[in-house]
Symmetry: C2
Subunit: 299 residues, 2 copies
């Protein structure tokens, strides 16, 4: 499919892509650039890629597909570094969770003969780093492509095929819609998870083990999401601030409504609200976006 | 251990207790009372209990251990119904998630020669009904006992042993502390899950499948908790209103703090907050209250 694929930032997502490429034989050569030499050594040792170096310019050269999979805040530096070293006609993509900023950054800096098509695989776990990746991460999950005026149609087709080979289902969406939808399905849930765990921690006195001991009552689910990569999520909230701030307001509005129902012991209204939310779980399972086993199949 | 155990309300928790009793041979006979005849027939057909009837008074008679495992709002009716039919010296317990109201209800109504010891197994799934129960539900999970002046010490020991035989670890706590701790580790997380799913649903336009399709970005975890029994949770929030309302205020306070950091693009503060919450996940896994596999081991 490709001669040389270059992955910039071989963390959970990047290393999962690399593993998927190798498993499905989608490229003759997979290389990676990481800032730390420790990571470069690790991805070679784990046989995730064929070559790795902190010299991004050099390693990008000659690649047909370049995938930026590092935190959003690192994009600018990377793009300025590689812009003169990308092969004419190569495809440049990323895996970032927010599109708006990136797209204007590319527009300003990347030559017109590079096919720029942004990607966002809606997949991940709470773990970080190259050792946590696995080739099946994208299986049945959606990957959203956001082509631009700078995308060659043939390349959009090729990139779609690439993600499908990795197991993804592919959708196409413009950046505005992407950033809005993701603020509901991903960014806001993460912020809320961070906030409830943080609220519990603030209440917890030193050496008080109760919050840990009785977390199976519900809190433990939130601690999983709140264990996600802090740098990645810091960048997401800042870059998708506009949508996130609106969602926070809507969330607080609805929470105050629930508060009123609890205060006035309005059982009917509470029950009605809780019945509505049950249905969506079923739809998510039917859409293959979660498993049907109770408690996520945990034992 | 017991001659006859009576379970009032054979739902997820009640039927899991019944299954555990049978599996571990903790009683010669297990009986159950349910309001609907359909449920009574089902629990007999599934061989969960030996006898089942909607005639609660009759079925309670002669039991050494009576376990109320129905929604909190049904307690008053049940207690008024059974109070004259409980055997002298029997143990009466429940599995309710809020203690304060129940304890005053018992105090007013249950004769002094009945040993009243409240229980709360911190275990469950998002499923409801007798078919969803399983004997391993309590394994490694904590069960909190709240004895009262009306509890015979010997019986507290016996009830501890009973829960341990079902796989639980047992703690003793007074009702005030119980209701406070659980509002943090269980009630508030559930309210927040209901609220974020409800907020997403309010935004979702009819026939818009995006929220379902891209839920793997985080929202799906919350839909699991928000699929819990609506009646049970309605009752919990009303009965633990005082603590829940306080927690809502703390939660909103902290969320507004996060909102400010996002608005002012204060990356340092966001990162610091997100780093703190990562640690507690590790502690929960070490305490055996969640599995260590990423993504709850979902595939």
């Amino acid at each position: 499919m490709f001669k040389k694929v270059c992955i910039i930032g071989c963390g959970l997502i990047g290393s999962s892509i690399a593993r998927g490429i190798k498993k499905n034989k989608l490229a003759r050569k997979v290389v990676s650039s990481n800032r730390s030499n420790k990571t470069n050594k690790k991805v070679i040792k784990l046989k995730i890629v064929d070559e790795a170096s902190s010299d991004t310019k050099k390693i990008v050269e000659g690649s047909d597909l370049i995938i930026i999979s590092s935190p959003l805040s690192s994009y600018k530096n990377i793009i300025l570094k590689i812009k003169s070293y990308i092969k004419n006609g190569a495809i440049l993509t990323d895996v970032g969770s927010v599109k708006k900023n990136t797209i204007s950054l590319i527009k300003k800096n990347i030559p017109k003969d590079i096919s720029w098509i942004s990607s966002h695989p809606i997949a991940g776990t709470e773990d970080s780093g190259p050792e946590s990746g696995f080739s099946q991460l994208f299986k049945n999950k959606w990957c959203i492509l956001t082509p631009s005026k700078q995308s060659n149609n043939k390349d959009v087709k090729l990139l779609k095929k690439f993600w499908r080979k990795l197991g993804s289902r592919v959708d196409v969406m413009d950046e505005k819609k992407h950033d809005y939808i993701l603020s509901i399905t991903s960014h806001m849930p993460h912020l809320i998870a961070y906030n409830i765990v943080n609220t519990a921690l603030k209440i917890k006195k030193k050496k008080d083990r109760n919050i840990v001991k009785y977390s199976a009552g519900g809190l433990r689910d939130f601690t999983r999401i709140a264990a996600s990569n802090p740098i990645m999520w810091r960048d997401i909230f800042i870059q998708n601030g506009e949508n996130t701030l609106k969602m926070i307001d809507r969330f607080i509005e609805n929470l105050i409504d629930l508060k009123k129902s609890i205060k006035s012991k309005n059982g009917k209204k509470l029950e009605k609200t809780f019945r509505k939310t049950k249905k969506i779980r079923k739809e998510i399972i039917e859409a293959g976006q979660d498993i049907s086993k109770p408690d996520f199949g945990r034992k």
